[in-house]
Amino acid sequence: MLKTFPKGGVHPEENKLSAGNGIKKMPLPKQVIVPVSQHIGAPAQAVVKRGDKVKTGTLIAKAGGFVSSNAHSPVSGKVKKIDNMMDAAGFKKPCIIIDTEEDEWEEGIDTSNDLIKDINATSDEIRNKIADAGIVGLGGATFPTHVKLSIPDGKSIDHIIINGAECEPYLTSDHRVMLEKGHQILIGTQLLMKATGVSKAIIGIENNKRDAIEFLTNIAKEYDGIHIQPLKVQYPQGGEKQLIKALLNREVPSGGLPLDIGCVVQNVGTTVAVYEAVQKNKPLIERVVCVTGKSVKEPCNLVARIGTPLSELIEEVGGLPEDTGKVISGGPMMGKAVSTTDIPVTKGTSGITIFNKIESKRGVATNCIRCARCLSVCPVGLEPYHLKNISENEDWEMLEQEHVMDCIECGSCSYTCPANVPLLDYVRLGKANVSQIIRSRKK
């Protein structure tokens, strides 16, 4: 029996269309739009101004606190302006717009492809380098990585968990990274182990990526303490809490962090970024983006500089198909539809899924038929139909008592609902209101 989380979960059609296509490098964009803040936490502050010359890897926005992250110029050129530009949700956010001139890298960055296996840095150095490089969780949540690695006094961890589950349908970027950058992942993992002083690491991979499991298991023999664990194909296996439950059978307490039960979870893409930051001094300026969809001519995995407009990536895979219904930033389950393709790739853009008109249609919502399917698929053990009703009646206090804040917004409930009830929409509304109440209480 393959390991998995015990409660709920769904198995949507996998549709991993681009799994067989290697990672391609995108040509340099003519212009990049780099949002100043691409992470969860305190907003960063721009440190360049209009007309400044920047090189690839130059710091352009500085972290605005501990839980915050730097941003670096993904190209070399001239800062055109710092202006408010639309983000994926359509709201204006401060962005640094850089006109590309060439690709001249900042000194000290090793751009060669040589693999550096020896780890010389101390744990403090590793953490500082990760913080300087502006690395955030590349799985999509964009939580600053150095914060996760700073273990507060009184807490100890015994496992590093590397998330290679990639449970989202369609997306294959992590899969390709595991196949093509296996050594980098393992060295990155060892760096994370050293930074936190842990001797054990587990890489959890869903069983639909057999080639990646086999490849990593083979090369992991060269590295100490790293174990590869195949997992059952079940969404949301890649959810942090679900992954820990599946691999270690430990449960993150309500409102707690993985730190509380002795683990730190990082995405495979993040480990590669950590490897590059520590061993090669390369800041996080590009990422693998999976551009996919049933109507897309050639779905593939692209390495794109941060700030490249989505439209250029879509152009690269053969342009927007005629029957496009929705363009989703991220995967089909947790991604968000974008209103324009002029928005840039950010550190959290794991994929672009293009849905045709039939796929993208939301069914007509009818009344709840009390089949309780949403209950049985909720991986957290909540009652989505109940939460939706409370949220609709705006009873925020009761919603808090019903543990709405434990919802991971995986969307399994909405996916499975035969009556097309917009469960997650209402739960999100409730979460937003409840978190506001909790925040005001803390003040």
């Binding site: 709201f91 204006k92 917009p422 929409d425 509304l429």
Partner: protein, 321 residues
């Protein structure tokens, strides 16, 4: 024991029990008597009984209780009952109440599809608040009306309706009680309560876009671009410009209408004014009439004085029917 005795004992024991219980009830009622000010009932009678919460109290009775307990009535106002109700309540309480100007809800967005191009389509649950949690809206203006009618649902007085052509809510002034329900429910804060004004004439900036001029104008033809022309032309300092958005203070505005002519995007709206005599030297902007048309049915008053307005009222009635 014969039958008669059984009946007798039953009657005696039951009536005895009844008397004892009645005595207990009487003693309890006397002991824990709640003395309520009779004026609360009187004022409660006066109030409209809509329980809309527009006064800020939980229902009309709550308001009546608060009125009786209050030292001064300055901070109290029943928007539904208006000044008359407040005066009547004040006379019961033997207190003075300052007269407040009647207010009405105004919708500060003119972004009908013809002015504001749709750039995306929203197919989620039909509720403004849910849409606003998902993204900025179906056009490039992140401030605009989402058009799904949360305000219509919130209104207890049938005073706000969606216009099927403009996809914007329209306030029926005669029904609007300024209870604030629509203002609170609107996630984009488009609806505002403003003084109804003399003869129900009002001038306001019908836009809440805080973007710079370029993007604002690009997203919507009739957006306030923050040019500040109205601020300059206003002789009464009634207009302020903040975050690229003009705002007319209804307390200071003398309804001279200079700003309406000055506004290059027709973002400033006048309602219930008789049509102006055409000026010869200045050509009115081409789509000016259209905006006027749009703004006027918003506040359908019953006191239509001009032919044109009557016509428009009947037009909009038709569309409603």
């Amino acid at each position: 024991m014969n039958n008669m005795e059984i009946i007798l004992y039953t009657l005696l024991s039951l009536s005895g029990l009844g008397i004892i219980l009645a005595l207990i009830l009487y003693v309890v009622a006397q002991r824990f008597k709640v003395v309520e000010d009779p004026r609360i009932d009187e004022i409660d009678e006066l109030l409209p009984g809509a329980n809309c919460g527009g006064c800020g109290y939980p229902g009309c009775r709550g308001f009546a209780e608060a009125l009786v307990q209050a030292d001064s009535l300055d901070d109290f106002y029943c928007p539904v009952g208006g000044n008359e109700t407040m005066k009547a309540a004040a006379s019961i309480l033997g207190k003075e109440v300052a007269e407040k100007e009647k207010q009405v809800a105004v919708v500060r967005c003119q972004g009908s599809p013809e002015h504001r191009k749709k750039t995306s389509e929203y197919d989620g649950p039909q509720s403004c608040i849910l849409e606003s949690k998902t993204y900025s809206g179906d056009s490039d203006c992140p401030y605009a009306c989402l058009g799904l009618g949360d305000c219509v649902e919130a209104c207890d007085f049938d005073a706000i309706h969606m216009n099927p052509e403009t996809h914007l809510p329209e306030v029926i002034e005669a029904n609007c009680t300024a209870c604030n329900a629509c203002v609170e429910v609107c996630p984009h804060d488009i609806i505002e309560l403003r003084n109804a004004g003399k003869k129900s004439r009002r001038i306001y900036v019908s836009c809440v876009n805080e973007d710079k001029g370029g993007p604002a104008k690009k997203a919507c033809d009739v957006a306030c671009i923050g040019c500040g022309k109205c601020v300059k032309v206003c002789a009464f300092d009634a207009i302020t410009l903040e975050n690229n958005l003009a705002y007319i203070d209804y307390e200071k505005c003398k309804l001279c209408r200079k700003c309406v002519d000055e506004c290059p995007t027709n973002a400033i709206v006048e309602v219930n004014f008789p049509p102006k005599k055409k000026k010869t030297e200045k050509k009115p902007p081409p789509d000016k009439k259209e905006t006027e048309k749009k703004s006027q049915p918003k506040d359908n008053t019953n006191q239509a004085s001009e032919n044109e307005q009557e016509q428009q009222n009947s037009n909009s009635d038709e569309t409603k029917a």
